[in-house]
């Protein structure tokens, strides 16, 4: 689910943003259950700005590259999609241009699973977390780390306005291997 271009042409795999946040219905936001932290921040533009659903507030880093955003869960979760809101027009040299996504059990064994490049993105950038293998739609992990490796115009610090992370919904019927999709099943599958 690479680009829904709504502005500039993408060049060979580089992502631009889309105006709208488009997420499948069978995904849900996982971020509430996570502990968020950042490698550095400027006072007043801290990690809360990433989660406040407000596109005017942003996180500004204040240290050496790479700038890191760490998302830690209490148990292993399935993650499918990462969405960032960045805005080149407003942030220019603060806009990230290369991001590495790492996953693992903790800080000690993070492994890179994906690297994406941006080209003057404006809006929501959707980054699916699956590998090249179509079987692996999800990654099953305790922790996710977003590393901003470089910015546009070689800026030192970065601005990110919002981050959302999505995973699959749990099966409404507990301990079921498969989801029910037909109406007959769904109607009878739970009590309310």
């Amino acid at each position: 689910m690479a680009t829904e271009s709504d502005g500039e042409e993408d060049t060979a795999g580089k992502l631009t943003g889309s105006q709208h946040l488009e997420v499948d219905d069978d995904l849900r936001e996982m971020a509430k259950k996570a502990a968020w932290s950042v490698s550095s921040c400027k006072p007043g533009n801290g990690v809360l700005a990433l989660r406040d659903d407000n596109l005017d507030t942003y996180w500004q880093s204040d240290g050496a590259q790479p700038h890191l955003v760490n998302i830690q869960f209490q148990k292993k979760v399935k993650l499918q999609l990462l969405v960032l809101y960045v805005d080149f027009k407003l942030d220019e040299s603060y806009t990230p241009s290369k991001i590495s996504i790492r996953a693992g059990d903790g800080f000690h064994n993070l492994k890179e699973i994906k690297t994406v490049e941006f080209k003057k993105p404006v809006g929501w950038v959707h980054i699916p977390l699956s590998g090249t293998d179509p079987r692996e739609t999800f990654i099953h992990t305790f922790m996710l780390q977003l590393a901003v490796l470089s910015n546009h115009l070689n800026g030192r610090d970065t601005h990110v306005r919002q981050i959302k992370i999505y995973g699959p919904r749990p099966n409404p019927v507990p301990h079921q291997p498969f989801h029910f999709i037909s109406k007959e099943f769904i109607t009878y599958s739970t009590l309310r």
């Binding site: 079987r135 999800f138 498969f178 989801h179 999709i181 109607t187």
Partner: protein
Amino acid sequence: METLMVDRVQSSLRLFMYRNALFLCERLCAEFPSELNLQLLATCYLRNNQAYCAYHILKGSKMPQSRYLFAISCFQMNLLREAETALCPANEPNAEVPNGAAGHYLLGLIYRYTGRRTCAVDHFMQALAIDPLLWAAYEELCILGAAEEASECFNDAAAFRVQQQQLSESSSQNLTIGTECQSLPSSMALGSGDTSPRHSKQLHANNTRETLSHPHGTVMVAGHPPIGGPSNISQYYTPPAVTQLSGVAPPPLCRNAQLYLNAIGGDGYTKSNVNAVIQAPRRKFVDEGKLRKVSGRLFSDSGTRRSTRLSGEAAANTNSNASQLGGNGANHFSAKSLGGLSSSSSKTNSAVLRSVTLRRGQSWANENFDEGRRSQIFYDSCADNTVTTSSMSALADGKCLEQDKMGCGISAHDSRLASGIREFLGLLRTLGEGYRLSCLYRSQEALEVYLRLSQHQFNTGWVLSQVGKAHFELVDYFEADRFFDLARRVSPYTLEGMDIYSTVLYHLEEEMKLSYLAQELISVDRLSPQAWCAMGNCYSLQKDHETAVKNFQRAVHVDSRFAYAHTLCGHEYVALEDFENGIKCYQSALQVDERHYNAWYGLGVVYLRQEKFEFAEHHFRKAFHINPCSSVLMCYLGMALHSLKRDEEALEIMEKAISADKKNPLPMYQKANILSSLERFDEALKELEQLKEYAPRESSVYALMGKIYKRLNVHEKAMFYFGIALDLKPPAADVATIKSAMEKLYLPDELEDTL
């Protein structure tokens, strides 16, 4: 001046002019401070929804009526302990509960909400014993699961009991009144028979309305004092109040048909008694004067005056008129009886008055019971001029010349009234039985009972909602939808049962209908829990669980005694995987209503997810005990048993579930699941083949079949079924699982190749 003020206050209350009533009443209490006036003021406050004011003014009062009003205000302010002490003082264990049936009913509610179920049941039973027509008490008993069969409660014995009570009251007073009294009690019973089964919340409103109606009765009493002295009145009235908290009010006094219909027998009666006590002294001086006037006209044409009075009362329908006319009439009668009877003992007089009251009651009763009848009776009595009217008055004497005519008239009434009671009790019986069965979740039987109702009773909002609910419990959502829809069309402003309707629409995934319903309910009443439940269900259907939680919490806020709101809130928390809050919600639901099986089910699901299988099984079993008909519950119980590895029992329950509801595919699927885990693959496949027929587009069926074939190493078939499953576009999680299963299918082959 006091009487005048009281009159105005009461007429304002009756006409819903609360500000006026409050103001005048406050002046009244300032001018003539007395406990009785305080009670009236409290009534005004309660009517105006200012329970806190009533609470403050009545705090510490000792009179039964004050205690009752105080308890009502406490109940409304949710100060249940205080309400309880007011009704049942701790240091007077044998004190009579004020207002009989109503008092017991209120006590029952208090006990129920403070978690003392047995006491609650006890008091509801007592309330029903005193007043067999107190539907609300029976309703509560059903909810608590402790109701006996409706035919026990609303049977001929009850009717007889009601009549008996009346009889004994009157016969204790005067033998001569004998025959008339027999007819009269039936009219009395009839009167109370008009009570419509209604909600507890309106209880106090009913009671207070009755206080209004009762001045009329007291008016008649008032005629008495000059003759017998006020002490006699109190003697006359209070003993009955104490000893016979009978089911029937002398609704003679009830002029207003609406008031009347709301009258709940027992409390009405006792209230009237109490009010009689209250009002009588006041009336005294007004009527004394009248009496003197009247005595001059002792043997004048009583007939016309009475008839004019009666028709005048019927027409005018105001307190003041009534008091004046009533005063006249009563005085007249008492005077007449003075003349008529040799013994002018107060007892006789009181008996006379009583029969007058009763007689009046009869006419009112008739009036209210049946419009057509009313005109008949009235015009009969009026048109028949002196004969009938004097026969009516002669009733008092018991020695009328036209005894025959009167007798015929009375017995004609009598039989009609008695049959009226029986009819009404029959209706209550059917409704009661239906409600009881549906509370016991014997929904099929409940449906049969409801079908026995007459057409016009069946096509009412309440009954249709109940039928819809019964279908819902049977997991027959289409029928439930149909009936709830009908209910909405018949009475679009009913809110009761609409929360269940919203759940039905949720299950049927009818987004449009559900959002429409929610919008409508909110526009009808923003402060009702059902409306917010419907909204919450709407959001939940769109998978917006956060907003759904907010809506359900609002429902809880609006009415914390609405168990279903708590349960739905719990469901949403669980969907958000917030198990702690979910459990808390379910537990609050269970605190309100222990028999709310949905909450037990919810807890079971939580524990199932948390893999605490023992707890899960326990909770599902509890839910199953309460509602043994739900195939979905049986299925979940089976799933819990399967997780506990008690597969034999699990399979048994699944079989039961399958046979209970053929349309439910879940138990068949679960059965196949269990069988495949037990490695009984052929049986499992058989089940799945059947399921395939029933739901050909359900990917999980094919996926499971593929899985089984993979275990059986029949790779081609496995691939085939996995392929179909994938084609049906299951959600991504399933896609991943299926694809990885498919991958592993190839591995053995690859291994072979490399070998």
